[in-house]
Symmetry: D2
């Protein structure tokens, strides 16, 4: 059930109770409850994503889109996500590597891993994900010959040197970085450890709103989330 | 072969001739020709994309990323692209719907279709695409029960009414729109013909550059490409 | 008194009462109340502006800065503001045309005019402003030979034709426009009535925050306020 | 003479020779030369600014507007600009402090100072500016009790400590900073030396274009110039 006015989605079995009253879900399409519009649909992938349980700061669609578009991740890829959190990006990766690929989801925090596991199960993608609790600053990952490694860790340069022999030649290392000062540090670390063709990106997304008075960008919203750093393993 | 300084890529069989001299490609990794760095790699999907033949204005990775992230397009989807041009988005769609999905690529312009076909063949994705030359303002598409239809046409509202019975319930209709005035027109047209949950987005991407003097966003570049409009078929 | 943590300013005579306790103002500089920092200063112009009474949607500094920079408004100019609201831009104009210029502040709404008048008096600029209540869609302004006219009205094209003989040749007509569709309508109306050299601008401002973890743009905030349209009277 | 199509301005005495032919300037208003539109006007302040001689990277109107709006600089202010370059900001400051204020323009580079002096003379503002050649990392400025000091130097933190006794309490110190890493360094230096209420800003400006096909932001242009840092002397 989508509440388009508030931009909210609810996964329900049966009916949805709201402050306007009960929204029946036996018939798909638009439903009006006391004059307010709801949209009832069978859930698609993005609906599972929008209704997922939240843990820490989750990556937004705009940044996930950049990662997918700049790496070309797709069916059959073997991917490791280091710092998967509650699984925001993980859901997309698991969805895209189907049916023959696999995502190895690492996080130090068991609580987050549990949330991520629930979200993956709800979207029926558990077949494509392996979860592992690990302190990545201390211990290596188990896999090698990977197509993509994603780092969502506060200090990615502590992990980069130990990833050199975990990726195929030409494979992608992506980091999501929150602070400006970290960009150069990561940049230099990547160059030093066999990675190159580095692209550091930032993306400002604005929603456009249609009102009775006219069309305009939304007035307030998210101005910044983080920087997406893309690189390739050039010298394994 | 990647020229990281200029941000250019070349698909070569054998060696690459540049103004600096010949870049040998028999050994993968970094190669220096008269002090200038080149990166030699076997081609991955994004390398085919970056080296593709250009026709008309091609969609950029940032907008392609938005479309992928907001629709959740993935393996097995059946997609139609109306106005595929030289195949910028088409390459990504074909790559993502593998191995069981299909993309139906329509364009009025035979020249563009030929470029798109060459690009798809070069990336070895021809198995997943069907090309059809057609004037979409005049004629319908052949498929039905689609998961996603993408419109990259100057007047998308001329096609929307005839798409209502071509999509599954809950499926996505996406349009790439260049001009502000067209947003409201398309918005109202979508609501009228069974589509809803409309999101209209714009994305400003900036590359961050690391120089000897410091880190900063690039000074000049692309400020705007177009608006991405996402909607769902709610009432078929 | 400035509360830098919250980004708030208070104009006080004597002491300021806060939820942390009383902030004494007899000594200028930094004052700590229960560990929280306050800054006590004699008020400057921007302090009066920041502490002004609000009426309707007020123009932000970023847009005011664009208007000042693109017109070059300065000492001695004679300016009319049509739709001055609570006086956000008006305060700046009055401050800048001193000592020999004048601002004629028009608004239909008496309530807003009163707030604007209070704000102007508080900043001690009443000598440079003349307030007039008027329905600008129906009635002309009184002045002629102006250097600058600013329109902050929902339908600026209803006023443009009657301004042609109110400005010097080469003088500036500026409009603040909220909606995309209105830009073309205003653009064509300006060209038709003797105005030209039209520049339509939008400005996205981001604050950069220094935290213990690092430096970054602020996460959420204002994404859009409106469009600033600058033009010159070319053929009076 | 304004060439609106190219966004160029020419200061001419008599006629302007272009590739389209000669543009006569004896009559003000629109002039068509072989079908191309030119606009002939007596020069206003922004026309002098637009036609100024360029030296090094010059500050743009958007950033100048931010500085003016966030400081409230106006008639009567005494201002020092350290690193005035070819005088881009200086022209605005000189124009705004009239008739009783003064701008002290410092630069190490004599070539730039000469360009700045020519630009100031052309705009007839020489009465309000005093030029001084000086290495500001080594030597102090001469003035005290200033209302505003602007730093456009690569390492502003080398000058900040020696400015504490040059400004009035509550007065403004502004720095224009090009690189991300410098923001924190400057921020901490300011707090240490009596400055506070620090605001660090970035501004992305987009021009909106009206074409026959529709209205849209311009496709490519300036994405980034620098960061504007505003602070107040709180403890002299």
């Amino acid at each position: 059930v989508i509440d388009p006015e508030r931009g909210k989605k609810y996964l329900v079995n049966g009916r949805l109770e709201t402050d306007k009253g009960i929204v029946p879900t036996d018939k798909l399409g638009r439903v009006y409850v006391r004059g307010k519009k709801y949209i009832v649909l069978d859930p698609w992938f993005v609906d599972f994503w929008d209704a997922k349980k939240r843990g820490p700061q989750a990556m937004l669609k705009k940044d996930i889109g950049l990662i997918i578009a700049y790496t070309g991740v797709g069916p059959g890829w073997r991917v490791a996500e280091l710092g998967c959190g509650s699984g925001s990006l993980l859901l997309y990766l698991a969805n895209l590597v189907r049916p023959s690929g696999k995502v190895y989801a690492y996080d130090k925090n068991e609580l987050y891993l549990n949330i991520a596991r629930q979200n993956i199960c709800q979207a029926r993608l558990e077949e494509f994900v392996e979860f592992k609790q690990r302190d990545l600053y201390e211990q290596d990952i188990d896999e090698a010959g990977l197509d993509l490694v994603v780092l969502d860790l506060p200090e990615p340069w502590r992990v980069v040197p130990r990833l050199r022999n975990k990726l195929k030649q030409g494979a992608f290392l992506v980091a999501f970085v929150l602070h400006m000062e970290k960009l150069r540090k990561l940049h230099d670390c990547l160059l030093e450890h066999g990675f190159d063709d580095i692209q550091m990106l930032e993306c400002i997304e604005r929603k456009i709103i249609v009102t009775n008075n006219g069309t305009r960008p939304e007035i307030s919203g998210i101005l910044h989330t983080g920087y997406v750093v893309i690189s390739r393993l050039v010298e394994p």
